[in-house]
Assembly symmetry: C2
Homo-oligomer: 146 residues x 2
Amino acid sequence: MGGSSPCASCKLLRRRCAKDCIFAPYFPSDDPLKFAIVHKVFGASNVSKMLQELPEQQRGDAVNSLVYEANARGRDPVYGCVGTISYLQNQVSQLQMQLAVAQAEILCIQMHQDKSYFLQNDLLNIPIPNANSFNKESLYGHDMVS
Amino acid sequence: MGGSSPCASCKLLRRRCAKDCIFAPYFPSDDPLKFAIVHKVFGASNVSKMLQELPEQQRGDAVNSLVYEANARGRDPVYGCVGTISYLQNQVSQLQMQLAVAQAEILCIQMHQDKSYFLQNDLLNIPIPNANSFNKESLYGHDMVS
């Protein structure tokens, strides 16, 4: 951070690293590739402007997201991050479809179960005699009781 | 494309639009914002370099993805596209979890159904006499037949 040990950005840009260098807290001299990739995709001037427009506590997250985006562009020069977004959107669509199918299957099984239950209870509807019907009259006949 | 009618990029950069201007096919003069947002985030020089490194048939897709990324950065200066990726990754995780729960529920219902089926068939296991057992011997007795 400033002085005799320039940050990775100032080293690459071959300039003096000021004490208040906006890059220094996020691009340490021992990780030159981190700045190099961001510089290649966004340009040092744009990164500096973007960071200056943000409050200090958000700059670390912004740098991380810029590094992520720049790496994605390095891996996929045509689609970059948008390729990942497209892939994830497809995955979300497929999962939503699979979930809908699974939920429909659950509903279907439950409806089939309910139908089977009612059918079964109808088929097995053999009336069980009430305990009260086993009275003396039915067992021994009218005459014997009376 | 070149000559008296400069593309949106050359207009913004206040330069002559050459016949072989690399921006002209993708940044028409009637859509100045498209180039402005890309220029603000990536810088004209970087965009030009990125396009030059790609075969012509892929440049259109590359420009579209750069415009998408630049717009995302405009909407969310801290996370840009990475915010969308993070949101989608969370959505994928949640859907995978919901799908796993639904599939477990299906398995559970099916296992319960199988168990009920076997229990039921065990309870109703009243042996039905085989047709062969209704032979003359059983109907009329041994002596009458012999």
